[in-house]
């Protein structure tokens, strides 16, 4: 079920009312209800993959209990391996099977062999990368004795399948989310209102920013060879806002929806385009994934505790794996590699933790130097997004060739001028709102300091903007494909 669908608009209020009506009964019933509605939410897309979700949950639930009982380290490692092989095996099969097969065939063809192997018609189960990482983190934490495993199967099933964040995150840690299923939830008026505000802001970013940017971006990227370097670069700027509006919009809707049900999910985006260097950008972009890689890959590899060269290698490994996590294509690997190259000067100069606080934290406006740094970082990010958006390596080569040609200085040719104007208007609104809210957790939070009447005016303004500027046809969220 898509958040931006009529189905969800009907589903959410019904589930919300029933959920709080059964609050007076045992907590267990509320959790069972959440499991049922989460499975309905997921099954709406394709019910066949519910078994996969259930199987994955069951494996980690059982293994974590075995891990708790077992004291022999060798056997514990075997249990952990079973969980890793099962989860990563499923992910690998559904997401990477054809990619590896393709490359295997290409390799053999290069050496003169022509293996007669057929591709499998595999449908990628939506959200598999997200819930796999969530369940894996649980088992690894139990293995490392950082977390007590749960015996309550319904709490665990609800933790894995919790519908607001099931298909595109935030990738929650068991230590944050699971205990919330043990406690009785009591309806909190101000939390619910805050949730609705965040949902509204998420919809604005998805429907007004992301979907409109998509139209402009698709026009250029579907026919790259006829566009100049300047047009491709302009399209990459719109793509930067598209992917931000799409993914952070989804996260805002997810976090806001969770608040309606009395849950607190982790923040996933903290104004990444206000970052003054690439390290700050990665601390603010897709935080749940970045911290996952930090905790379960970077730190186990030694993190920054060992030599500088080891730190650099670890950073490269994390970025390349992160790229590959996004999709089974060399483009994503190159995208990860490029980001690690961006990181390199900061690591060498030991300036990767220079900008911790948000820009202009104690000031009204940033300094000129900060503005220049923000723009420079943004341009680097936009260039990297080209690697992300170009569907194939041949498309990527066309983009790079055109950008590094004379045509970069041509006047950009974007056909949909009306869309460009309206979308740019939406982007300006978003930047202003997010700048004013930069110390808060989401872009609409700054209005809390105003009187209720003014707050209502802001809501109406955003609703009118959505009504007049959204795309007529609904589009899926980009990160569903990951």
């Amino acid at each position: 079920m898509l958040f931006n669908s009529i189905d969800f608009a009907i589903f959410l209020p019904i589930v919300f009312i029933i959920y709080w009506l059964i609050q007076k009964f045992d907590l267990k019933y509320q959790n069972i209800f959440l499991v049922i509605v989460s499975y309905i939410f997921y099954g709406w897309w394709d019910f066949r993959f519910l078994s996969l979700l259930f199987f994955s949950s069951l494996v980690d639930y059982s293994i974590s209990l075995l891990l708790q009982k077992e004291t022999n380290n060798k056997i514990r490692k075997i249990y952990l391996s079973i969980s890793l092989i099962t989860n990563l095996g499923l992910l690998g099969f559904f997401k990477y099977f054809n990619f590896f097969l393709d490359n295997f065939i290409k390799c053999f063809t290069f050496f003169g062999f022509h293996p007669n192997i057929r591709h499998l018609n595999i449908i990628l189960p939506v959200g598999i990368s997200f819930y796999t990482f969530q369940t894996l983190s649980y088992t690894i934490d139990v293995f490392n004795k950082k977390l007590e495993p749960t015996k309550d199967i319904f709490s665990f099933l609800a933790f894995v399948s919790f519908f607001p964040q099931l298909v595109a995150g935030p990738i929650e840690r068991a230590s944050n989310l699971l205990p919330q299923f043990y406690k009785k939830r009591v309806f909190d008026y101000s939390k619910a209102v805050d949730g609705l505000k965040q949902i509204l802001w998420g919809f604005f970013k998805k429907l007004v920013i992301a979907d409109n940017c998509a139209k402009i971006v698709d026009q250029v990227f579907s026919n790259l060879s006829i566009y100049s370097g300047s047009s491709i670069f302009i399209a990459s700027i719109f793509f930067a806002f598209q992917i931000y509006g799409d993914f952070s919009g989804y996260s805002d809707i997810a976090i806001g929806t969770a608040k309606l049900f009395g849950f607190d999910l982790m923040t996933n985006f903290l104004y990444p385009y206000f970052s003054r260097d690439i390290a700050e950008f990665w601390r603010r972009w897709h935080i749940s994934l970045s911290t996952w890689f930090r905790d379960y890959v970077y730190i186990p590899l030694g993190g920054s505790k060992k030599s500088l060269s080891r730190n650099i290698i670890n950073t490269f490994i994390v970025f390349i794996i992160s790229g590959f996590w996004h999709g089974a294509s060399w483009n994503f690997v190159l995208w990860g590699l490029l980001n690690s190259l961006y990181f390199l000067p900061l690591l060498l100069l030991k300036k990767n933790r220079k900008n911790i606080e948000i820009v202009a934290y104690n000031k009204k406006f940033p300094s000129l130097k900060e503005i220049i740094n923000i723009l420079f970082t943004f341009i680097l990010v936009c260039f990297a997004w080209i690697f992300f958006r170009a569907n194939t390596t041949s498309n990527l080569l066309i983009c790079i060739r055109n950008i590094f040609s004379k045509s970069f200085f041509d006047f950009p040719k974007i056909l949909l001028l009306q869309d460009v104007r309206l979308t740019s208007f939406g982007i300006v609104i978003m930047i202003l709102f997010e700048y004013f809210s930069r110390k808060e957790k989401y872009g609409l939070a700054f209005i809390n300091k105003f009187s209720p009447i003014i707050q209502y005016c802001f809501y109406v303004f955003l609703i009118i903007c959505i009504g007049l500027l959204m795309q007529a046809s609904k589009t899926a969220f980009i990160y569903f494909q990951f």
Partner: protein, 313 residues
């Protein structure tokens, strides 16, 4: 929680009251043809067709469909079967066909319904046709279009159209649609002046992906016709061969339509039509083509419904 729900309901109510004012204000400032508001009257024959349908009386044959219907079924050639009406409108998709059928079934009381199928319209969102009906024909019943195919453009256009018609009701008159190539024939047919198609287009092979909303509307329409015990037939009017062969999944589409009733696809039935001589564009017959197509169609109709020759209203 009661307070929360109460506040949401009050806020939703206030927004639903305020929202139309902003739409009207936006139309006054930026015009009535903008991104999500498309009130564009007087660009098609829809007004004339629907106004005539209101007072046409009972018919024997009712035609439904897009421009292929109102330009392809010449009701004059069907006179021998009694009175007929062509309810085809611009880009009419199954959603609008179902909507119009529900509205006019009790007005026109047809005994036979001929539904034109054009595969690409099954993948359409149907917005163009909805705004064509809303912009040209005022009816409170038009709100049903919004429920059949919810969409911000349809909603905003409906709001503005209602304001426009209500505020101009005393001196309201949309200028009659004129087109130097077209002649409107009473009963919903539009005759095109002789023109020929010069093919210089390239067609990329593509698969038609059915839109679930259209599929559902189509099935609802067939069920409604069956419930009313009306005889019906599904027709795919001829389009140029060059366009028809560009669809890669015609077999699958034909099979699907055939499950829903008697289906005659005149792109698969050999009739003497030539892309250059009998079409004026890639998917519309010219009047010469219409004559040939209707002649063959009538032969098939008589075979399928022999009683047609006897019945007259």
């Amino acid at each position: 929680m009661k307070r929360f729900i109460k506040k949401i309901l009050i806020f939703s109510f206030i927004v639903s009251l305020i929202y139309p004012f902003f739409i009207i204000g936006s139309a006054k400032i930026f015009g009535s043809n903008q991104k999500n508001l498309k009130f564009i009257p007087n660009r098609s024959w829809t007004k004339k067709t629907l106004e005539e349908a209101d007072n046409y009386g009972d018919v024997n044959i009712l035609f439904l469909g897009s421009s292929h219907a109102y330009r392809g079924f010449d009701i004059r050639l069907f006179k021998k079967f009694g009175k007929s009406f062509n309810l085809g409108t611009t880009s009419q998709t199954p959603v609008q066909s179902y909507f119009l059928l529900k509205k006019y079934l009790n007005i026109l009381k047809p005994e036979y319904i001929i539904i034109d199928i054009y595969f690409p319209l099954f993948e359409s969102d149907g917005i163009e046709s909805s705004i064509d009906i809303i912009s040209n024909y005022f009816s409170i019943y038009n709100f049903k279009l919004l429920f059949l195919s919810p969409n911000p453009i349809v909603l905003n256009t409906l709001i503005y159209a209602n304001y426009y018609y209500l505020s101009n009701r005393n001196n309201y008159k949309i200028k009659e649609y004129q087109n130097k190539f077209d002649k409107y024939i009473s009963g919903g047919f539009v005759e095109r002046k002789p023109q020929f198609y010069v093919s210089n287009e390239t067609f990329v092979k593509r698969k038609i992906k059915m839109n679930p909303t259209q599929k559902k509307a189509f099935e609802n329409m067939i069920n409604l016709i069956k419930q009313k015990n009306i005889k019906y037939i599904l027709i795919h009017s001829p389009i140029t061969k060059i366009e028809y062969i560009s669809y890669t999944n015609t077999k699958e589409l034909n099979d699907y339509i055939r499950q829903k009733g008697i289906f005659l696809n005149f792109n698969e039935i050999p009739i003497p039509l030539n892309d250059n001589l009998h079409f004026y564009d890639r998917h519309h017959l010219n009047q010469y083509g219409v004559h040939i197509f209707n002649k063959y169609l009538i032969e098939y109709l008589v075979k399928i419904f022999p009683e047609l020759n006897k019945e007259k209203k």
